[in-house]
């Protein structure tokens, strides 16, 4: 599903983001990527969603080599990967419903399809009754659930969540993690980037540890080791 082959990312002049990363994530896996701040976790996510290009190496997503992806093709890749960020990244001038529908609208989905899918996605994340609210009118946990609903509408094979619980209290944190587990249960590959020890340890799933741009540990049923 996701393969990194000898991938390095070096920022000018010589700041190392990632160094010779080799990684293979299989379809349907739930993988936690852990590490301290500034060790290269977010760089890995940025490379995966083609927000940045690798300096060296090859990245293959679902059989598609995205190492040298053209600017005009990025939108196609983004429709295949659902992305969840710590800072939510919702459109503040659009309602909850419109934010979720937007991901379908940009892909040219028909109005009929949008009307069928968006309520389903909102139901999965439990926000049916808040569809008409604007992001500022709902809590942080609810905002993150809107982001997950938005990530789900394309029925992506992969969900990448970069510190999705970083801005949330513990109750909301567990709600979001539970939601991600449920999505993984449907067969979606989930890549969770976090430095939340409790979450990683409770998940009992594959854990990849990054330190100074290098993969220092990759355990099938791992624990937070740093």
């Amino acid at each position: 599903m996701i393969r990194f082959k000898n991938v390095s990312k070096i920022y000018p002049p010589e700041v190392i983001g990632l160094q010779n990363v080799n990684l293979h994530i299989r379809p349907g896996e739930f993988v936690s990527i852990v590490g301290q701040s500034g060790t290269g976790k977010t760089t890995l996510v940025k490379l995966l969603i083609a927000e940045e290009r690798p300096s060296r190496g090859q990245i293959v997503v679902g059989g598609w080599d995205i190492s040298g992806i053209r600017n005009s093709e990025v939108s196609l890749l983004r429709r295949q990967i659902g992305v969840v960020f710590q800072d939510f990244k919702l459109l503040p001038k659009k309602t909850v419903y419109e934010n979720v529908a937007f991901a379908l609208e940009v892909a040219g989905a028909t109005g009929k399809r949008i009307k069928a899918i968006v309520p389903q996605a909102l139901k999965i994340v439990g926000l049916t009754d808040k569809a008409d609210r604007y992001p500022r009118q709902i809590s942080g946990g609810e905002q993150q659930r809107v982001v997950i609903a938005r990530a789900l509408v394309h029925r992506p094979k992969i969900i990448v969540a970069d510190e999705p619980t970083g801005n949330l209290d513990s109750i909301n944190t567990w709600e979001i993690i539970e939601l991600l587990r449920r999505i993984n249960g449907f067969g979606t590959t989930v890549v969770l980037v976090t430095h939340n020890r409790e979450v990683v340890n409770a998940l009992k799933k594959r854990v990849i540890t990054i330190d100074h741009g290098l993969i220092v540990s990759d355990q099938e049923e791992g624990k937070y080791m740093l």
Binding site: R79, K89, L90, A103
Partner: protein, 304 residues
């Protein structure tokens, strides 16, 4: 599918405009001020031209012939002058008319009348009042009148002192044109910079939004589309507002302008006649400016 996306681009454009109302209002204000200042320049240009042509139309050259030159010779000179390309019109004033006009003007001056009686008869000769097609044509006419064939018949040359005035007016007209051109260029540059900045600020505020649109898989044209629609709305409103303010302002100013420049000043009819060109060109200019700036401003947030 393309039609659906196009409809959405328009919908998002309108949504952006209304949901960021104050930002839209600020941008429209800057654009409106720009269009008003362009119209101000158009009005100043037109008024300048009217002023110059009004002064030009009042300038003429009078050739006073000697009293012993008979009317047929003066008429011959008139025909010769009319054959010149530079001459628009020549008016003949006979000896008798010149005398009666003088008496009309100076009837109250008893001493002058008495001295005229003493001189006996009509001391005036015929006069030709010559008007050129263009103010720059007078030197050629004056040159012709100075030739010996004509100069021998002419007693008084009131055009000698006009020559200096004509020269001055000529250089004033040229300078006025240059000034208008320079002012237009300067104002144009300032307007361009202000407008570009306003558009850039507006798009800068959407920086995050553009990032989010990219994140969820929006193509570049889909991201840019609503901004172009917004630019179109700004253009329509700013040009529309300017036109809406221009007509009442001109209607108000018209009597004052006519009093100052003469009855032939009619800016209202100038705008009515040239409506399509003036408003259309301004619309195209502002639209082009906002579109190009939008493209440039969004480009920096669309690069990977």
């Amino acid at each position: 599918m393309r039609g659906t996306r196009l409809t959405r681009v328009f919908r998002f454009g309108f949504q952006n405009f209304f949901r960021n109302f104050w930002l839209s209002a600020a941008t429209v204000s800057v654009l409106t001020l720009t269009v008003i200042s362009i119209n101000g320049l158009v009005v100043v240009n037109v008024l300048g031209k009217i002023a110059v042509s009004s002064i030009e139309s009042r300038i003429d050259v009078s050739a006073h012939f000697k009293p012993d030159v008979d009317a047929s010779r003066v008429q011959t000179v008139k025909v010769a002058l009319l054959s010149m390309q530079e001459v628009r019109d020549v008016k003949y004033v006979s000896r008798e008319d010149a005398f009666s006009q003088f008496k009309e003007l100076n009837g109250g001056d008893m001493d002058l009348m008495a001295s005229l009686d003493e001189a006996g008869g009509n001391p005036f000769g015929a006069t030709l009042i010559i008007r050129a097609r263009d103010i720059s044509d007078y030197p050629a006419i004056l040159q012709t009148l100075s030739e010996p064939t004509f100069a021998n018949m002419i007693e008084e040359k009131d055009f000698d002192d006009r020559e200096l005035m004509i020269d001055r007016l000529n250089s004033l007209a040229a300078r006025l044109e240059l000034f208008a051109l320079a002012a237009t260029a300067l104002f144009g540059c300032i307007a361009l910079l202000i407008t570009m900045n306003a558009v850039r600020v507006s798009i800068y505020t959407h920086k995050e939004e553009i990032g989010i649109m990219r994140l969820v898989g929006a193509s570049n044209w889909f991201i840019r589309g609503p901004f172009y629609v917004e630019a179109l709305i700004w253009t329509v409103i700013s040009v529309g507002l300017t036109v809406a303010m221009l007509y009442p302002t001109l209607a108000f100013a018209q009597p004052f302008l006519q009093r100052f420049f003469g009855a032939d000043v009619d800016l209202m009819s100038f705008y009515s006649v040239n409506m399509a060109e003036v408003v259309g060109l301004q619309f195209l200019g502002v639209a082009l400016l906002t579109f190009v700036t939008t493209k440039m401003a969004t480009a920096r947030y669309l690069r990977v």
